[in-house]
């Protein structure tokens, strides 16, 4: 299962989808990907930053949504304090 996580004051919220089911055109999986893409766009417009996670390796910044990414984490915008 692929997952998109958004960090917020409630902890992380998640949208999950089955990449294989998406490839087979499964309606439910497609809807989940569309929801993930919508959340990605909304959060990016707020200034949040998305990263593709590779376990045991450094994360990679993601500026456009990629449904083939297994693990994506969106963090809030940061500012100097």
């Amino acid at each position: 299962m692929a997952v998109l996580r958004v960090l917020s004051r409630h902890g992380d919220s998640r949208v999950e989808w089955d990449a294989d089911a998406v490839a087979q055109g499964d309606a439910e999986a497609m809807a989940a990907v569309q929801e993930a893409e919508r959340i990605f766009a909304t959060e990016r417009s707020r200034g949040s930053v998305a990263f593709r996670i590779f376990h045991g390796r450094p994360a990679q910044r993601m500026d456009t949504f990629d449904p083939s990414a297994d693990d994506v984490v969106i963090v809030p915008r940061v500012a100097g304090g």
Partner: protein, 159 residues
Amino acid sequence: MPGFTFDLAVVIVIALAGAMLFLPQFIASRIEAGRRAKAEWSNAQLRADMLLEELLTTSEYQQLNERRYLEVVSPSNPERAYRLPRAPGRVAVFERGVHIENLCVQPVDQVPEGDIILTHKLMIEGSEQEYLRLAVHFEPRPRVPMRRDNVVSWSVWHD
């Protein structure tokens, strides 16, 4: 005039009765709201810590809990390391083991402590230059030892 005094007394009695009736309910609802908010925040902290455990390697998570900081090596300069504190605070930057500066940078939204650490780590790994540009940079003063076994830094702390 006596009629006015009577009216005023009636109004005061009604107001007091109303206050006695509704004030305890109001206070109870505020206490309940506070208790709920505290429980939600505690749950968020727990979720954030579980996410950290899931996304960090075993040794990273162990370091964070034992040393109270997580060290992230700069992707652009292998001799530079960022020490992210377990508790909220400034990020210490080390080069070749020498404490060169502190960074003050934080998420603009309120997130649990575990998510703050994760935000720092991901920003450093995936967007280091932007992270450094946004951070406020401070001289490492007072020069408090960050690692007492770090002999190289010891000379700097006492110069």
